[in-house]
């Protein structure tokens, strides 16, 4: 599954033992794809001396701050942008 700009995605809410680059605070949250950066070797494999292949697409995904932090104090239009690898994203229904 590849995603395109403007598409709504949900971050996989799964536990992962070991190194990974998906912050815990964003797991399970629904956001919007803002950019498709490029494909990169997977840090979850590279961290342990492996080749990180196949490469994973990296996306810039934005989230409404009030969706991420229920007690968020700022205006509703404030947003949080996170770089996320494709294998952590699913299409939001």
């Amino acid at each position: 599954m590849t995603f395109c700009n403007g598409q709504r995605v949900v971050v996989a809410d799964r536990a992962h033992r070991g190194h990974h680059r998906t912050p815990g605070y964003i797991k399970g949250k629904i956001g919007t794809v803002e950019r498709v950066h490029a494909s990169f070797r997977n840090p979850e494999s590279r961290a342990y001396g492996n080749d990180g292949l196949p490469e994973q697409a990296l996306y810039l995904v934005s989230f409404a701050q009030q969706d991420v932090w229920p007690e968020y104090r700022g205006p509703a239009r404030d947003r949080l942008f996170v770089d996320l690898f494709e294998h952590w994203l699913e299409e939001a229904r």
Partner: protein, 209 residues
Amino acid sequence: MSEHQHGHPHTPIMDGDEPAAARRARVLEELLEAKGVIRREDVRQGIDWLVSRTPADGARLVARAWADPEFKARLLADARSAALELGLDPGPSPVVVAVENTATVHHVVVCTLCSCYPRALLGPPPDWYKSLPYRSRAVSDPRGVLSEFGVELDDDIEVHVLDSTADVRYLVIPTRPIGTEAMGEAELAALVTRDSMIGVAQPAASTLV
């Protein structure tokens, strides 16, 4: 005083109190060198590169963008190519992204997982950028953090926080101060501070205002 061989006494530069992290780094470096994975010369060159970088390079990019709208468009489209166009070293990251602060949007950059930072264009990150309080609060309470840095934003300005969790490096193009219309690029660059390119400060105020 230790035993000393070069003509002047001083307290030992290295003693039994070597910090644990420094000892770990030293032992790892020695092991990697002994196993032929790295060479001491490579490590030295890497350190030389890191300490040779300064925010002046990022400031040149911003000043050119302020002065030349077509360059700004290229910087926003592909900051890595734009840096190369000015003869600047954009660093090892294959993707460098510049984001523009405007009258309606203010960007702040953080790396919640570690301390990812555009070192090639901004030099070494400040200690607070790597601190746990900044890394945790910049995402959850950016307006509170900005206020502590002296940046008060009206509610009609959207705050966009960028959590640089992976291979991409982010640079903020701050808003050009009013009263700088007559300035040349070198003068403009002097207004562009490191913190303004992280997004926690406005550029230095113009003396012409």
